[in-house]
Symmetry: D2
């Protein structure tokens, strides 16, 4: 199935095609070389309350698919595809997945299968734990091995993606204390296409606000899980305490994460930078920017890149790492496509770019 140059044509379905995650998956698929070469076909597009509408009325930026009509999200409709992307509300993926063949590559953009710890799941999501699937962040230690050939994939949360990538090298290298602070500014699409007064343009524009502070955000245990894995990769069995504050900013896309942690004694700026240079030297999507150059979300708009800068605040004794991603691309749909590529044995970067749309 993995051969996109001559084998059978891949059939791909997108459940939740009227949402932001589903729309971004489709945007990326339409630019995927397999699609352009006729080796990947966009099959069923499904939705919940929007079933019956044309995609053009809901996602007017996807002109080539404008006339497609959305079907109901049911296992029957999704059957018969090689790859199924799920962009569903939390809690709906397990039921769908159970009824699809094991050989179908299911890539869940929702949270249901991200956490390995049932207690953490229940504490944060107030529901029964459905289990965990291979985690779609190839750049974490062991990430690619988990994804190659996988048929069930949990796409990471947007905040955990950038926060974990920003902190994992320092944690793995043991150069920081095991308490980290993440303050991450996000565009509004991270909240989904949800009818909520607080997400109206009139309320959002010209204003910044924090929400779900002091450990209340569901992405907190996911960051901790990733950093614990990073620590283990560095040989330390420790829990990482994560103080996480999400901030909503007046922009449609993008996350800028400011990550700080107390430096272990004796670590200087050059050593800290070297840790990151080594960790990400061969990563196609992670760019440690030249010294002094700072990430900005506008530069990664629509791209799968993660831009990072690392600095040492000697006076305060802190490591400061800044990371930027597009929450819908690398933070969701880009990771989903990257994971699909790995699962199918296609070139990992196919259909993804490190070129942003700016200004």
């Amino acid at each position: 199935m993995a051969d996109t140059s001559g084998g059978p044509v891949l059939r791909v379905a997108v459940a939740g095609a009227s949402g932001y995650a589903g729309g971004e998956v489709l945007r990326l698929l339409l630019g995927h070389p397999a699609y352009r070469a006729g080796r990947l076909e966009i099959g069923a597009l499904t939705a919940g309350s929007n079933a019956g509408s044309t995609l053009g009325s809901l996602q007017p930026h996807l002109l080539p698919l404008a006339d497609r009509v959305l079907a109901e999200t049911t296992p029957e409709v999704l059957a018969g595809h090689d790859v199924v992307f799920l962009g569903l509300p939390h809690g709906q993926s397990a039921a769908i997945a159970r009824l699809l063949p094991e050989s179908t590559v299911i890539i869940d953009c929702g949270a249901d299968f991200r956490l390995t710890d049932a207690a953490a799941w229940e504490k944060y999501y107030k529901s029964e734990h459905a289990g965990s699937w291979p985690y779609g962040l190839p750049e974490l230690p062991g990430g690619r091995d988990r994804l190659r050939g996988a048929t069930r994939i949990a796409v990471p949360g947007c905040y955990p993606t950038v926060s974990s990538l920003a902190l994992a090298p320092a944690v793995a290298a043991g150069i920081v204390e095991p308490t980290v602070t993440v303050v991450a500014v996000s565009g509004t699409s991270g909240a989904g296409r949800k009818l909520d007064v607080g997400l109206l343009g009139s309320e959002v524009m010209g204003s910044a606000r924090a929400y779900n502070i002091a450990g209340a955000h569901r992405h907190t245990p996911e960051i901790a899980q990733n950093l614990k894995l990073a620590a283990a990769d560095g040989g330390a069995e420790v829990d990482i305490a994560v103080s996480f504050t999400p901030v909503l900013a007046p922009m449609p896309r993008g996350i800028l994460a400011t990550c700080t942690a107390a430096l272990r004694p004796g670590v200087d700026a050059a050593q800290a930078r070297a840790v990151y240079e080594k960790a990400y030297a061969d990563e196609p999507f992670i760019h440690l920017l030249p010294e002094g150059v700072l990430p900005q979300t506008g530069s990664v708009l629509g791209s799968n890149a993660v831009t990072l800068q690392v600095a040492v605040d000697a006076d305060a004794g802190q490591l400061v790492v800044i990371g930027a991603i597009d929450n819908l691309t690398k933070g969701t749909a880009g990771a989903a496509v990257q994971s699909m590529n790995l699962a199918l044995g296609i070139d990992e970067t196919a259909g993804l770019t490190t070129v942003g749309v700016a200004p």
Copy 2:
């Protein structure tokens, strides 16, 4: 030279690579199939006062070219390329072009060679007319014929692109009176990367303002020129009076043009729509939206699409046409690449998409 699948590799230079037009040309070239296939090479990148800087420090969204250093914009540096894109301040293109071989395909994103009428040029640009080059709007009557094989191309202005495409079918079909009103809302990148207090984020955000009203904007005669050509295509030798008002809106990209003209007696909505359906039935980048669906600039962000809607205001006796483009893509760099494709005999749509980045 036109064969990108097997012939010699095309060498392309971009003068003015630190500006918005130049940056967008580079963004599109990096995604061009000829570039991906190794048949197109990005050669010299030049700038004015930014010469000597890395592209990464000026265009941080173009990560694959981040380490490239900008050269001075001189004919020597630009020589030896098959295609040269010029994104220079008005008035500088002629001197450069004169010193490059005739066989070099020069694609000027500036205004210097857009107007055919020397008097109009002198009135609006207060300088000597340099002449006119084939005009890079393939969708105008005769547009493709002028561009195939051309080695000198004048890329249209962003406002004239959408305004002319919105009005040309009605003018050509003779269903409107020869006075048109265009009010076009533009994002700020249309003004270029210019240090001007009025373009600071603090001044722009949360505010809309008109500028260069009452015929003062230089794009006015360009719209009139295009519409006169459309009228001639319909068999009428008439001047079209253009009342043009540009409005700056708080967004980085996009133009939404509202075009109105008095309907000729007896023309109804169905007839008006039919005129547009016929005119653009085969155009790959122009999409007449379903009845009642209105264009929005956010849906064409980063895409080369033009979305249109046409309606009749029977009470006021007016035809109303709304058009949306991305001013940097179809409005500048996309038209430039589309023109390059035509000039070189490549598939006209190569490297261009009708899929926008949204939300």
Copy 3:
């Protein structure tokens, strides 16, 4: 009742206090000199589905009233006030007004009583005409006389406010033909605090779109009504044809209207300007800007000012008038307070400013 310096304290209620219009009325009342002097009391605050909530949870910018709890909107709750502002969905005002004493000053920010022509009402609002009340635009011919001592007032629509003030002098002076084109760019608060996918921040930011084009917007007959009145003031009994296109722009507040009309032969720029200078010489809130200076909505944010510029496009034979207002202030709540002042015999400008909040 009109004496705010020594008579009985005015009791003021606001129905619809959780909406944008109601919130802006309260913002202005909190800064009104009568309130500061203890001569005006903010009484009942009511809402529909938000009844029972604190104002602080809904209008967090109104800190001095944060603990006030919203009551249900009923005639009983609103009784016993001297002034009642209504910020209700269309169609609800008549029923409320009928049950309040005739002496109560009722100021309706909704549309119900704006149109004098029942046929126009029924065509645009698809419901029975409730009648018409004195129209709260003091700057129109005869406006102040209609409002002094009035106990029922219909606050104008936001688009009609700026469009009518921009065009009325020219229409009254007979210097333009009786067909006008208005393209008005509006911030999102004009649509109200409505749960609508198209008003989400993610959809709105970075995008401009037209809506209700070609005469479909309900403010069209209101502009025509005002301009007919202006024409009559100039001695002409004519209908004015209005081609009106509203455009939604990514900003919370503000309307920038571009108004064009064919100039009558022989009228030059100086004459046109003189018409406006004369018309608005004594208006406290209308500012004809110096020649060449253009209105911007950011400069009137939170202010009751209308800024205008007038120009002649000699080539196209058009008069172009640009006007800017804050749609929530002069466009709604400011007009409401200005009308209240006139109705009560207070200084018309009390509690209103021409100083904007910028940048």
Copy 4:
């Protein structure tokens, strides 16, 4: 001089009237009750390179002063005023102040006299320390006493204002460890009206970026100075280590600060909240929001309010305090007017409001 109801009229000058700080001082003065009562006169308005221009061409939102012409900023022009506000580039205030009478109340919106520690000044500003003046943050311990009757006042930086007020109670009460992390999201006006490519609307909109990270921002020592003073007020002579990261967000105004610090053992959420309730119970401008309600900058636009929320992250062992201000009002010009009021013995809140302009 303090009696505004009957004594001599106060003459007030503003140096730097073309900048954002100067413009905001003027906006507030135009609404000040002493101005409205004719007891405060706006005298000289001065500028640097903008001298000779009208205020209307530079600050079009200040319509009542539109015709005023800016003078050069010289001691001669500023002499003869009772109060002089300085909104000058860093380093220019001392020379001006030296030449004005000691009795003139000089209120410096710049940084020159904020830091008491010459070494800190020299490290961060790379110039000789000019000394320190009473610090214009009345809400800090001892703040009002320092300002009553003062004739030289240093207005705090915008970031230090909100950060210090957010953290001072916890530091004074000794409930946190002496290392604090502040990540503060700011609107662009905080950078001033500066011609800088990175501040262009095209670059700013749709993008967030950190800058001057890892202790490089000049406001870092100012926050530390304030928190040391708070600690001393609580009886502890300790230095507070401040990890400060400023983030630029796409909005014109507002700062949202996320402040975290490790909680001392045994402190719970109720105790933390009680500390803040007590500290700010009588403060007219500081509002501790109801539990669970989070500050947003849009709610304090144009107001002098500081909204705070405090929470305990028990898992991470951190106190999290979120604060919002308008950087130009409470963060600059509001503090300046509040300080003027205190210096002159006027009601501290005169001319200032806690009502924001929203949405």
